[in-house]
Amino acid sequence: MKKGFRFISAFLVSFMIMMSSIMPAFADETDTSTTGDLLDKIQERGELVVGTSPDFPPNEFIDSTKTGQAQYVGSDIELAKYIAKKMGVKLTIKASSFDTVLANLQTEEIDLAITGLAYTPARAQQMEMSIGYNMTEDTGGQAVIISKKDEEKYKKLTDLTGLKVAAQQGSIQQQYTEDQIPDAKLQSISSIDDGVALLKNGTVQAVACSEGTADEYIEKNSELAKLDELFNIDQDYAGNRVGAPLGEKRLMKEVNKILKEVNKKGLYEKWYKAAKKQSSEQFTLTATGFFGTCVQIVQYCWPQLLKGLGVTLGLAAITVIFGTIIGGLFALVKLSKNKIVQAIAGVYVELIRGTPLLLQLWLFINIFSYLTNGKMPMIVSVIIALIINSSAYVAEIIRSGIQSVDKGQREAAKSLGMSNVHMMTKIIIPQAIKNILPALGNEFVMMIKETSLASTFYIGELMTVNSVIKSATYKSIEPLVIVGLIYFIVTYSLSKLIKYMEGKLSVSD
């Protein structure tokens, strides 16, 4: 009982120390943001970091034939390039999910958010918002997607009274839905793809999104249609906005100056048209049935799928290899006699095992970004976070593997006068390996699945490829099924292989 209490207090203390070393980071950020010196910083480092969620063609999407920065395309990316050019700095695109873009803006991970952002009063409280762009009728409209079979039934917004309507969390469409569809039951979604999937399976009756997006979906999904009546656009809310961290008024002023020029010259509309063409050219599905579509996606996308699988396996392998090295050290420390290092290793292992991986990814990405002034590439942060996570599990695997060796073996070796090193390397570890190897194999299989969490940060593994294909094809279920099958085939055959090797190993008992 007393021991447990000591452990918990040690745990809490170390957690608080950890937090207190991070908290000043956030405090600093609020301080600097009120002075609004981000513009100077951008100019100083010669780099503008723009966050975007590339699942929103033609505004921002991924050209899967390209890699690195070049893969991010769309009219918003053109706008970002234009702004960087006008500022005379280099552009770096940081891709992540939409929620992550907004969060990154608050922590100043990115300088600007250009991601089809619409004005809402709530958002205006959390960030600096630019004047509108993308304001013209044919690109700036807001529409509702419905099922083709309901086309005759629903014509006006009021026809949807009391029905379930999906809209992106915190988006302008959510605002419109609440204001203009009486008694609408709002279903929050994180991407339009999800909304369309819900519409197809009947969970919702309509999806609110921008007209351009609606047109794309309807063109590629014969079972979808557009509600005849569009949302009545409030001029205050019209168009898209560029976001900057709260308080960065000087930066915003500079951006607005550039946007005014863009609006005057009608540049965005040109970019939009070109992007729309590029988006529809990149991929055309002709098949209609579910299986036909799946086959066609695989035919078109197998190089990306293969590459995604490669990244997934690579990530899992790197994670488990380095996790094993670090975990091995922690296991030895935990088995050592020094109470202090033992306690530290214990707290480390328990902390990591007792918190979710997604939380750790966020936490470490923020810490590394703060420590390196945002210079740490996302993939490196993700890999380090994964390794730290895995090492805690591997430490336990190795520790229990070593402890599972009969204590008589240790006594026999000692009684013969064997040194500690020889006892570990020649007697204990060779026997422990039999228990450790299959468990490490299973950890590898676990990691293959766990790396999917890193897709929040668009690092190109299999789950990221799923998002890319989703936004390229406007199909949501088929890519999920394909990617799911790949995961399953790989993990299932690996598990079988491990079982087989486990059997081979245990023969020597």
Partner: protein, 244 residues
Amino acid sequence: MTKELIVVKDLHKNFGDLEVLKGIDQTIHQGEVVSIIGPSGSGKSTFLRCLNLLEKPTSGQIIFEGVDIAAENVDIDTHRKKIGMIFQHFNVFPHLTVLENITITPILELKTPKAEAEKEAIELLKKVGLEDKKDEYPRKLSGGQKQRLAIVRALAMHPDVILCDEPTSALDPEMVKGVLEVIKELANQGMTIVIVTHEMGFARETSDRVLFMDEGIIQEQGTPEDIFEHPQNPRTIKFLSQVL
């Protein structure tokens, strides 16, 4: 009197609050065969395991060949090479062949050349009738064969004394004899042996001296004749009446 090999002075051992050894003084001479008998829980095994520091004494001295090995900063591995030990559960190394089980420690710790270590191991295996098993893994051996392998493994280090911790307790009855014969043979060759055993016949026939332990102390000791024919201590009498 022959040379004193192990001298134990005022040995105490506690496991937490439990006092298992309550002050033991004992001298083992070179070439002596000493049997330790007594009821279970009397501290026999703990006493034996203290002799090569598998259990660290709480207090007291264990002077082996003139060195107090229970003292701090003693390189215990060096001394353990001279103290062989046979365990109840054999503790052979399952991942090594019979031959490797024997040669691994001489090669690693005595720097014996591999060929020489193997030659000697085969000689020893011949003596216990296991020569044809040299390339097998221990899982193919019976309990009695495993224990004979464990004895050979200890002998390959050329120990000055062999400690046997109930070497036949885990064996099927038909295996006991073979193992005891090997130990008897060692005794005949002049090896110093300290054996914790329930085999009263063996203790009587083979020992030079018998120690009767109970409640953490040596209650009575003497020649087999003294102990088995004319026990003095009431505890000894009671114990012998139960086991004989």
